[in-house]
């Protein structure tokens, strides 16, 4: 790790101000991605602005079917929230399968979504649940948020404060883990709200997380695993690496989607 200056912010405003004063600053949340990257000397921020002590960025509120999750909420807290489980158990299930217990106690939803790793789990939930991403500057619709691999609509210094969404009628997430990293080789989040269906795919796409229109249309017509039988997943849009080629990933996307629909009931 290169030398860096550490700052502890106690409010969102203070964090933004500290970032403004920094040369090449970075926000620090759980550090589960950032610290590892710094240790490998692949990131060299001049300043680290720690968001972990900002109380207003933590916690889950459920009002009827309206859910708000602070960006600084840990994966463990999402996984184990009874209030959230009552309205959207799929999201708890997703969080419970991220990494290992250490990672789940440190890592945060905001850090994961801001980082936008193409194999991360949360981005699929943000898209499928049509979350609104609230930052210290504005609100960003899920469909506008993810731009490409490790690339989001966030501007320099912008802080994600919270995520909000209305709980769907039915939802489920199914993930096929990479045998080595256990990130998603293919993860599919399906959600049905009224007549609307959203299907978001992570881990597999060559340009990061995406919605699959073909599957959404098929599931709008009939909400059943078999409805996906005739849908093609284009292998040309899939990632290929030492863990699996694009044909395999295209297959996994379909299999995980079917299983997600089955699990959602």
């Amino acid at each position: 790790m290169y030398e860096t200056n550490y700052h502890r912010a106690s409010s969102v405003d203070e964090a933004a101000r500290l970032m403004g004063d920094a040369g090449e600053g970075k926000y620090l949340a759980g550090g589960m991605t950032l610290i590892a990257t710094m240790k490998q000397r692949l990131a060299a921020p001049s300043d680290l602005i720690d968001l972990r002590h900002i109380g207003s960025m933590k916690g889950i509120t459920v009002n009827g079917r309206n859910v708000t999750i602070g960006a600084g909420t840990s994966h463990y807290d999402v996984a184990s929230s009874d209030a959230l489980k009552a309205v959207c158990p799929a999201l708890c299930h997703l969080a419970s399968h991220i990494g290992d217990p250490h990672v789940r106690h440190m890592g945060t939803i905001g850090g994961s979504v801001a980082n936008d790793d193409p194999a991360a789990d949360y981005p699929s939930a943000v898209l499928a649940l049509n979350m609104t991403v609230r930052t210290n500057k504005r609100e960003i619709a899920a469909d506008d948020f993810f731009v490409g691999m490790f690339e989001t609509a966030l501007e320099e210094g912008e802080i994600i404060v919270s995520f909000s969404f209305e709980a769907p009628d039915k939802a489920a997430y199914q993930k096929f883990p990479n045998p080595a990293s256990r990130y998603a080789m293919a993860g599919v989040f399906v959600a049905k709200k009224g007549s609307d269906v959203r299907v978001a795919v992570t881990g597999a796409g060559s340009n990061g997380v995406f919605r699959h229109q073909g599957m959404e249309a098929a599931l709008k017509a009939a909400w059943a695993p078999d409805a996906l039988a005739a849908v093609t997943v284009d292998a040309g849009m899939m990632m290929a690496d030492i863990h699996g080629n694009s044909d395999y990933r295209a297959n996994l996307v379909k299999v995980m989607a079917k299983r997600a629909v089955a699990a959602a009931g």
Binding site: F176, I242, H243, Y248, V255
Partner: protein, 781 residues
């Protein structure tokens, strides 16, 4: 057996310090004035070094010095060597290329060290290492051994034309060809044995301390064999004469073979300590470990097996290409020859065998022994071939093996080995009963109804441990003898220190070796300490690998105990005024047999040291040493059965059950033996399902350089194992021990792959059988 003696499930004495974080590893060592080292490594797989500029790095904060390979050469530090000479079939000696600890002319793999930076802190050393400017002229690289043999492949060492290190063979090719020509059936198969990274929990580390006043060096190192390290560093690398070099391997957190070898880093830390005048410590990080720890396996073989009309194997012909990486590591020469081809007879009565082995340089990390070393490659080849043959011949895999089992001992194979004892049918029967083999068709049908593919596979392995005798291995090219030493020191109060040349890095020697002493002398386990791992304490030894510490190391202790007993009995006879031949040792007492006359053990010890009343002419003291050179290898064997269920939608394999039935000869501590079997099987399953080192074929970059891409088995990848033992005591050592350290890793990979190929009905599958590969094999992608 008693509660603490041989055969008892004694909890490991060493576990308290390991489990409470009180172990002392090399990186825990701190000495006054110690500084930190970082190596500058080649980012290229193959390149000429045009220049190295260290001036900017030397000016960085905290930097003591930056040292290069040229100065090391000028100081007379030798090149690294392979300590086992192999001759090609034309009689020529192997073509060993030069391996400089710090390269200064050519780098040959990503990670090859070119300079060492010594600084006040690790961070400063890292910063300075980045400021070293090396001007490389990048050369074409080759990573696969088969490609490296092709005409026009990049040349890696000038003295190894065509990248061939040796072209070795064993057996009677004429007889094998004749048998193949007249066979009723010939099974042909190509076998790939995937390259593995050893991944000990503790990474390698070295601390070099040069003492100017005494002109003496101390080296703390993560070694499985500190005495061999001292010998090699003295005799071949000219670091220092043996009496001026102390090597200490304290607690070592796993080795699996990778810590047998002497690497550039420890030599360089010692040399750098003298150059800089400060103690120099280096600890590998995990990516350095992936890049530079010696890898294992990496064979490609073509196999032909001939059968007569009664399904008896009449001949086996094997052509193997073995990837050695960029340099010949310390034992590498022996691995695909005498540790591999000599095991190709397996458990079978095989009249004729011929094996041809091509050892090949590539631009990858050096390859050497890794848990099993050669024997897993032989077992995988043989057991995949037997399984394939059974399917082709339409008979059950158990029957085909049974028909061909060796049933009379001793048995001389056509490839050097002479098996002393065994009962292969007993292990096969035990494993099949435990696995409920007969009930498999019903389980398969039930799985089919759930849309899953069930398969079952077996593997009957034999291996050779306690590689010996010294004269025999010497005649086969070994540069060292393979005996072991022991010294039993009885203190004046009767407590005991046992000094051994074996080295424990997870095996539990502090417990098992003490159990032997407790059994022999009837003294409590707590009164016995095992001392190892320090060349100043233990005079000489050959270390721990190849499951040799029980069979060879404990046999040396048994010999030393014989001598201690003889002297103790003489003293007791004198004190009890009895005849020496009437004295027996029981429950911590020396007794006159058949009487109530006795003297406690501590009294005998005390008498030996007070020397007030010893038999006339007897020297004081009670301390005896012994060297033990075995008469033969030992031959652990067994049968493993694996049952799997494959998800046809994803290609994912789930292990339903894993049965191990092993014959390890006599067992000292069943709990420790089971632990060794469990760990070995975990590594074997890792090889079969998950692990595989991958390089980019054109650039030679390591693609699996972290756990993000190199898949290690985790607890939830593994089933609970069902382990049992069938015992035929080894006849060639006094304890009847065969060894158990590697069996799990040797026997399990073919059982897993035989099960998966059975499940999916496609035999064309290579390890690791990842979900992606299994899915492709099922769906023709």
């Amino acid at each position: 057996m008693g509660v603490e003696g041989i055969g008892a499930r004694v909890a490991r004495k060493e576990d308290k310090r390991f489990l409470t974080g009180k172990g002392r590893y090399v990186d825990d060592m701190k000495v006054a004035g110690m500084k930190y080292a970082v190596f500058v490594r080649s980012p290229h797989a193959h390149a000429k070094i045009k220049s190295i500029d260290v001036s900017a790095a030397k000016d960085m904060p905290g930097v003591i010095d930056v040292l290069e390979g040229k100065a090391m050469k000028e100081d007379g530090i030798g090149s690294l060597i392979c300590g086992w000479m192999i001759h090609s079939k034309d009689g020529s000696p192997m073509n060993m290329g030069d391996w400089r600890p710090l390269a200064y002319e050519t780098v040959r793999y990503v990670g090859d060290a070119v300079a060492i930076v010594v600084a006040d802190s690790l961070g400063e050393a890292r910063d300075a290492a980045e400021a070293v400017v090396v001007d490389y002229e990048v050369l074409p690289a080759v990573t696969e051994a088969v490609d490296a043999l092709k005409p026009g492949a990049p040349q890696i060492h000038a003295n190894a034309p065509g990248n061939q290190i040796y072209d070795w063979h064993i057996g009677d090719e004429g007889a094998v060809d004749a048998a193949l020509a007249s066979a009723a059936h010939v099974t042909e198969i190509e076998i790939h044995n995937n390259r593995l990274s050893p991944n000990p929990m503790e990474p390698r580390a070295a601390l070099g301390i040069y003492d100017t006043a005494e002109d003496h060096y101390t080296c703390y190192t993560t070694s499985q064999n500190p005495h061999v390290a001292r010998l090699v560093m003295s005799a071949f690398y000219n670091v220092a004469p043996e009496n001026k070099l102390r090597v200490i391997a304290p607690d070592v957190g796993g080795g699996f073979g990778s810590k047998i070898y002497i690497y550039p880093e420890e030599i360089t830390c010692l040399w750098a300590s003298k150059k800089t005048g400060v103690p120099v410590k280096w600890t590998s990080d995990r990516t350095e470990a992936f890049l530079t720890d010696a890898h294992g396996r990496d064979h490609v073989s073509k196999v032909k097996m001939a059968f007569d009309a009664n399904h008896r194997v009449t001949a086996l012909k094997v052509d193997t290409t073995a990837n050695f990486g960029a340099y010949m590591s310390l034992f590498s020469g022996a691995v695909p020859t005498y540790l591999y081809a000599t095991l190709l007879s397996g458990q079978y009565n095989l009249p004729a065998i011929y094996a041809n082995v091509h050892a090949v340089y590539t631009n990858t990390a050096p390859v050497d022994a890794y848990r099993g070393a050669g024997r897993p490659e032989a077992t995988y080849l043989l057991e995949r071939t037997m399984e394939t043959a059974a399917r082709e011949l339409g008979i059950s895999p158990a029957e085909l093996r049974s028909i061909n089992f060796i049933r009379q001992f001793p048995h001389q194979t056509p490839v050097i080995m002479n098996y002393d004892t065994g009962n292969f049918q007993a292990s096969l029967d035990a494993a099949m009963a435990e696995a409920d083999w007969a009930g498999f068709p019903a389980r398969k049908a039930e799985a089919e109804r759930r849309g899953k593919k069930r398969g079952i596979g077996m593997s009957c392995y034999i291996e050779a441990c306690g590689i010996a005798p010294s004269a025999a291995v010497g005649s086969l090219g070994a540069g060292v003898g393979l005996w072991e030493s022991a010294e039993v020191r009885v203190n004046a109060v009767g407590t005991i220190e046992v000094l051994t040349g074996s080295h424990s890095h997870g095996q539990g020697h502090e417990t098992t070796f003490a159990q032997l002493v407790a059994t022999r002398l009837g003294v409590p386990l707590d009164s016995i300490s095992i001392v190892h791992g320090d060349t100043d304490k233990v005079q000489m030894g050959m270390g721990t690998y190849g499951s040799r510490s029980g069979a060879v190391g404990m046999s040396a202790i048994a010999k030393a105990l014989d001598k201690v007993e003889v002297k103790a009995k003489k003293i007791a006879a004198h004190l009890l005024e009895a005849s020496e031949s009437d004295i027996v040792i029981e429950n911590g007492e020396l007794k006159v047999a058949g009487t109530d006359k006795s003297v406690p053990w501590f009294q005998v010890a005390l008498s030996a040291y007070t020397a007030h009343n010893l038999p006339a002419g007897m020297e004081p003291g009670l301390k005896e040493g012994a060297f033990y050179d075995p008469a033969n290898f030992t031959f652990p064997a067994g049968c493993y059965i694996c049952e799997v269920e494959v998800d046809p939608d994803t290609g994912k394999t789930q292990l339903i059950q894993f049965v191990a039935a092993d014959d390890f000869g006599n067992i000292i501590n069943p709990m420790i033996v089971e632990g060794q079997v469990h760990g070995g099987i975990a590594q074997g399953i890792g090889q079969a399902l998950l692990e595989g080192v991958q390089y980019d074929a054109s650039t030679g970059q390591l693609l699996t350089a972290s756990y993000m891409d190199y898949a290690m088995p985790r607890a939830d990848d593994l089933p609970s194992y069902k382990v049992s033992h069938q015992t035929t005591p080894c006849t060639s050592n006094p304890l009847g021990i065969k060894g158990c350290g590697e069996a799990g890793a040797i026997g399990s990979p073919p059982a897993v792959i035989n099960a998966i190929t059975d499940a999916i009905g496609n035999n064309n599958l290579t390890m690791p059988a990842t979900p992606a590969k299994v899915w492709a094999a099922m769906h023709g992608h």
